[in-house]
């Protein structure tokens, strides 16, 4: 995880639930590269074709509410989205995204600062999101240490892998 994340912004409204991120009809798809073709099909249809690696999603309140489907952050990660920033998140989406190593930042007041096409600059440890075009910025409480650590190693798979390796090392030592 980079300490400063910069990218082109796509904006979304409030209450974008997981049905609007990835519809129920796509839940049998396992391949993230297939999933990404359908991301935001309901909420922002132009996103799947137009989004590029490094782009940043800026949403309103309660982003990712609804189901526990990890397909939602998986699809965003497959596109290469640099970060998801929202006024607030639903809890399972937040956990899923962090577990996949996708920087997920809750910054109340952020949505109204951006329009699609703006450039966002996020300082993860300082806790600041700024709009490069307007100069407007909001601060946020930086992620707790253990979550930053999780992003740092690239997500939960890597973290557990290290833990299991360390355990095995101890066992053989």
């Amino acid at each position: 995880m980079k300490d400063v994340i910069e990218g082109r912004v796509w904006t979304l409204g409030d209450d974008v639930d997981t049905d609007q991120i990835i519809g129920g009809k796509y839940l049998t798809i396992i391949d993230p590269n297939e999933l990404k073709k359908h991301v935001f099909e309901i909420a922002l249809p132009e996103f799947a074709k137009g989004a590029l690696a490094g782009d940043i999603v800026v949403a309103g309140i309660n982003f990712g509410s609804g189901s526990s489907r990890e397909h939602a952050p998986q699809a965003l990660r497959a596109i290469g989205v640099g970060a998801v920033v929202a006024d607030s998140f639903a809890r399972i989406f937040f956990r899923n995204a962090i577990n996949l190593g996708l920087p997920t930042i809750e910054a109340p007041g952020v949505r109204k600062l951006f329009e699609t096409g703006d450039t966002a600059r996020i300082e993860m440890r300082a806790g600041k999101v700024a709009n490069a075009r307007t100069g407007a910025a909001v601060t946020f409480p930086p992620l707790p240490h253990h979550l930053l650590e999780l992003l740092e190693v690239g997500g939960l798979v890597e973290k557990v892998r290290k833990e299991l390796e360390a355990r095995a090392g101890k066992a053989t030592a």
């Binding site: 009809k25 309140i61 526990s68 399972i92």
Partner: protein
């Protein structure tokens, strides 16, 4: 009672103290919780990859893992068949004995409930957001994603932030035709879909005390729609009686302290309360049913099913209303029991016949029409009246389709009349 800065602990704090082996915990604290029960449905297929990528070789405790497929049962697409196949293979490799496969299947949460997989004091996690339903056992039961489940299967624990608790005290008596579903809808109208985000909702008071376990399941189930981490009811004699013959592991009954600190307390008096309805496109867009009845909203599909309201009590209540009536011409009425054992009970009690003779479709147990990925999909300009839990845009297929959430009785009344109706109309 305890040392939480001079005040007692809420039920969620008690359970998370136990799970983390700490004397006390406080909201905001991050703890490592030992998992008592891990449940997977089809989404568990996505757990297998990360589990191997982590370098894990063995599930921490096969006796604590339940797999219950429910979204596409039997498989309706090749994709679903592949998910089922992955799970069966994983279960065989890892010697996971508790796999509820086709023929012995049911909605995962109902399987956990009716087989006593979650008991008071447990920390339970599942790869479905409505895992909250099991909080009715006096447990912390929360939904997680498949990568996180892979870590749970490998380690038997996960990190949790101790949630602040909203206490809901319910007083009064639910009138005829007014159900636990109406109560939770009313509460959703007040708390809204973000009002309990990251929080625990602890239900109590004389009305909750008087509810059966199935009714408590309905309430805890829809706590998910408030954004909550968990919805809970402290265990009492009703809980112990329900679990008496079925509990799969020892109980650790915990009660909230009298001097527990709540972030917010909500008091609800249900005396004189009307049935409620959640209108499109959010479960918190709640109005009294009588208001919507006056608007004569025509329905194309009626759905009695889902983990929220498809237990035998819901089926009996629906059948009692259905008996002697026909499904309105032009309405497709889908009835899907929450588990195969409920299906069998419906068969024995003649409930299936009541519905099918009236013109309904009685399906095998599954999530059915609830999630828009298997059956009972709507056309864009259609309306569905449903006993399920969500009515977001696109929930049953196209984003324009309109879903109204009500009690099972109101679903049946609407199926009979062909428009959104009040079940009390049929009570005489």
């Amino acid at each position: 009672m305890s040392g939480n800065g001079g005040h007692g602990a809420t039920l969620a704090e008690k359970v998370l103290s136990r799970a983390s082996g700490l004397d006390t915990v406080v909201p905001g604290q991050i703890v490592e919780g030992r998992v008592d029960l891990a449940m997977m449905h089809e989404q568990g297929a996505q757990t297998v990859g990360p589990f191997h990528d982590m370098g894990a070789t063995e599930v921490w405790d096969p006796e604590r893992v339940v797999i219950a497929i429910d979204h596409w049962v039997p498989a309706s697409t090749e994709g679903a068949a592949v998910l089922h196949r992955i799970l069966r293979k994983f279960a065989a490799e890892q010697h996971l004995p508790h796999f509820y496969d086709v023929g012995n299947h049911g909605i995962c949460h109902q399987i956990l409930a009716e087989h006593g997989w979650v008991v008071p004091g447990d920390l339970a996690v599942g790869t479905d957001s409505h895992t909250n339903m099991l909080g009715a056992m006096g447990a912390v039961a929360a939904g997680i994603g498949p990568t996180e489940m892979a870590a749970v299967l490998a380690l038997g624990r996960l990190w949790l932030k101790v949630p602040p608790t909203i206490r809901v005290n319910v007083h009064g008596e639910l009138g005829p035709g007014v159900t636990a579903k109406d109560l939770v809808l009313r509460l959703l109208g007040e708390v809204k879909t973000t009002g309990a985000t990251y929080k625990s909702v602890e239900y109590g008071g004389p009305t909750i005390d008087a509810l059966s376990m199935p009714q408590r399941f309905t309430i805890c189930n829809m706590t998910t729609e408030m954004g909550a981490k968990c919805g809970m009811v402290a265990p009492d004699q009703t809980t112990y009686d329900y679990l008496a013959k079925i509990a799969k592991h020892p109980m650790h009954p915990l009660q909230p302290d009298k001097d527990a600190r709540y972030e917010r307390t909500i008091d609800i008096d249900v005396n004189g309360m009307d049935p409620m309805i959640a209108c499109p496109y959010s479960p918190d867009n709640v109005r009294p049913l009588t208001e919507v009845v006056r608007e004569h909203v025509k329905v194309d599909q009626a759905f009695l099913g889902s983990c929220t309201n498809a237990r035998i009590e819901d089926m009996r209540e629906g059948a009692a209303l259905m008996r002697g009536h026909k499904v309105h011409a032009g309405v497709r009425f889908i009835v899907s029991p929450a588990s195969t054992s409920i299906y069998n009970q419906c068969l024995q009690e003649g409930i299936i016949e009541v519905f099918t003779e009236a013109g309904a479709v009685f399906t095998n147990s599954s999530c059915s029409a609830c999630f828009g990925g298997n059956m009972g999909i709507l056309a864009p300009d259609e309306v569905c009246i449903s006993s399920s839990n969500r009515n977001f845009p696109g929930r049953m297929g196209p984003k324009e389709a309109r879903i109204y959430l009500v009690s099972p009785a109101a679903v049946v009344a609407s199926a009979i009349n062909g428009e959104i109706s009040d079940p009390r109309e049929f009570s005489s």
